[in-house]
């Protein structure tokens, strides 16, 4: 087990502290994990509008425990994670406790330096993460928000811990997927990265705002219901190669009626159960094709399509492009 403890800081400092701890060099603001820890990278970039973005894609070879200690400062981190192969995952941020053993976790949470963060993950986990760092001042300037705006100050407080959580629906995932597919050599790399990161931030803050003022779609979902929905979403997100469990079974898992399940799922994730399953499956297809390791036919059959043309039609419906055009 690797235990890493550090004080809250910006992404660049974090990268150097982590590199020091792992005894690896930092090249082009990127570190590659040493083999005993895992494989993959952690990268930090500064956008032209001043945001710092940390991205990582890695598979761990050891259990890891990260502890971020409190520190002074007027800044925030917003972290989007897609984690697979979970045996034991536990995230503790004040009252926010996420424990997951449903194989997949995906979520986004906002924090500031006033609450310690503990993050425990098992070996073999696959983690893809986009982590945005910004100061309060940056936010006010960039978003044109007054310093005394009460609602925004409750979402982004400076005198008490900030804790906001959001589930990652398909729109977030598509943006993350775009970010991981960007190639440094492409001519508009910086602009494209900045736009996608800003869209992630916009979406998260909009949802947080709506929750505070109570116009959120999620009104009525208790914390318990929300946890169940995350579980259902994980099952759908997991079932890429086979048909998803039928609605009655999902309802049993979520211990609620089918009607409630369907309505609640749509409220939280914006799509019907089946639509969501299908969209997620196509996103996975896009991911697989982007690796260039599989033919279109292989991807289709991996995703459980017996008929290749059904696959290409479904793909085209979502991305407006044929798989072969990627």
């Amino acid at each position: 087990m690797i235990e890493f403890s550090y004080d809250y800081c910006d992404h660049y400092d974090y990268l150097y502290i982590l590199a020091d701890f792992l005894r690896v060099p930092v090249t082009a603001n990127t570190i590659w994990l040493p083999e005993h820890v895992g494989s993959g990278y952690v990268k930090v970039e500064k956008l032209t509008n001043g945001l710092q973005v940390l991205t990582n894609e890695c598979v761990l070879n050891q259990d890891c425990f990260f502890k971020r200690n409190t520190a002074p400062g007027n800044h925030f981190t917003l972290r989007f994670d897609e984690v697979r192969n979970i045996k034991a995952l536990s995230v503790k941020l004040g009252d926010l406790v996420l424990e997951d053993n449903t194989n997949i976790y995906s979520g986004a949470f906002l924090s500031n330096p006033l609450e310690p963060l503990e993050y425990l993950i098992n070996s073999e986990i696959e983690d893809r993460c986009v982590n945005i760092y910004f100061t309060k001042e940056w936010f006010q300037k960039q978003f044109g928000i007054a310093a005394d705006d009460a609602i925004w100050n409750s979402i982004l407080p400076v005198d008490k811990p900030a804790i906001e959580f959001d589930v990652l629906g398909i729109d977030y995932r598509e943006l993350m997927e775009d970010i991981f597919e960007l190639k440094k050599e492409q001519p508009l790399y910086h602009a494209a990265l900045q736009n996608r990161v800003m869209l992630l931030l916009e979406k998260f803050l909009r949802n947080a705002y709506n929750r505070v003022v109570g116009t959120s779609n999620e009104t009525g979902a208790s914390e318990n219901d929300l946890k169940k929905m995350i579980q259902v979403e994980a099952i759908l997100a997991n079932a890429v190669g086979e048909a998803p469990p039928p609605v009655p079974e999902l309802a049993r898992i979520a211990t609620m009626s089918e009607t409630k399940l369907k309505a609640l799922f749509k409220k939280i994730y914006d799509y019907n159960l089946y639509e969501y399953y299908q969209k997620n499956r196509m996103l996975k297809a896009k991911q697989l094709i982007a690796t260039k390791k599989y033919s279109v036919k292989e991807v289709g059959s991996r995703l459980g399509f017996k008929n290749l043309s059904n696959f290409t039609i479904a793909f085209k419906k979502q991305f407006n492009k044929l798989p072969s055009e990627l």
């Binding site: 032209t48 509008n49 960039q142 978003f143 044109g144 609602i151 925004w152 492409q186 001519p187 508009l188 790399y189 910086h190 602009a191 494209a192 900045q194 736009n195 800003m198 869209l199 931030l201 916009e202 803050l205 909009r206 705002y209 407006n320």
Partner: protein, 330 residues
Amino acid sequence: MIVFELNHTDNKSLLQKMAAAMGVPYHEEDYVMIKPPAGDGIIKIIDLAPELQVLLADVEFNSYFFARREQSEKRYYVLHFEDIYIKDTAVFSVDGEILEKSQTRHSVVRLTSNMFTNTEEVSAHTRIKVVKVFFSEAWLKKYLGLQENVDGLQQYVSLKTACFDIEPLDAEYLKLMDELWNAKKDDPLQNIFLQNRVTLLIERFFSRLAAKMKQYDGEPDMPEEDIQKLMKVERVLLKDLAEPPPNIEELAKLATMSATRLKKGFKQLYGAGIYTYYQTVRLQKAKEMLLSRRYSIRETAEAIGFHNTANFSTAFKKQFKTLPSQLIKE
């Protein structure tokens, strides 16, 4: 006749003068409602960031409109997204080069700069729907993350703004423009919402420009002649939305190319198949009509060629995820 001499760097005082000339008030939030007898519509200016400004106009003037942008010192660019139904004639010029169009839909993206004199003249009663994005050279360089002359993109940009290098407004551009127009006034994230859409528009334009440059280096992608032909097809396709669209054979004949080449080329240029594009544009038009609250659902359906309102509602819902009746209620 309305004549305006424009200065690239001060759109607000220009709009103030325009308001005064037309006898309508200039609102503090930088917008002007154009009213009869001058015309009908709205023009507004939004500052998104230092050296990034956007002008939105949806307006019809009752007289001939002429605007001229002179060369000026500080290097500025304007990215024009123009969706104009030209009633009689319209003439655009860049550094003396002239583009004249009459009685057609002019729906293009083009980039100009203040290194050259630009003029626009539009005949009376033409519906002008445009998004113009103004940015300085310094802003662009920073946004694109350019060092000195990386990729030659900058050089290319300078060169291209000396003449017409127009790109059609495809389905994706139209969608982003629509989002700008439908931004909610009470949105707590309005500024960033607008900024994100505008930067997506810019990103899309420049990434396509970069892709074109690559093609110019190697194989030419699509001959200029084909682009002209396909743009003609697009105009004919959208000429009268109340009537059924021409079939592929007719369009192929018009373009003097094979049906296969037509379909492939159209898709490449407009980002969607011919009838998908047709459907997107006419439903977009329907949405505008409904939001104007001047037409009933039945009238709107008829205007875009649906004789059965149920079919119209289904198609509308498929496109916008909401029924026409729900849209009106909002």
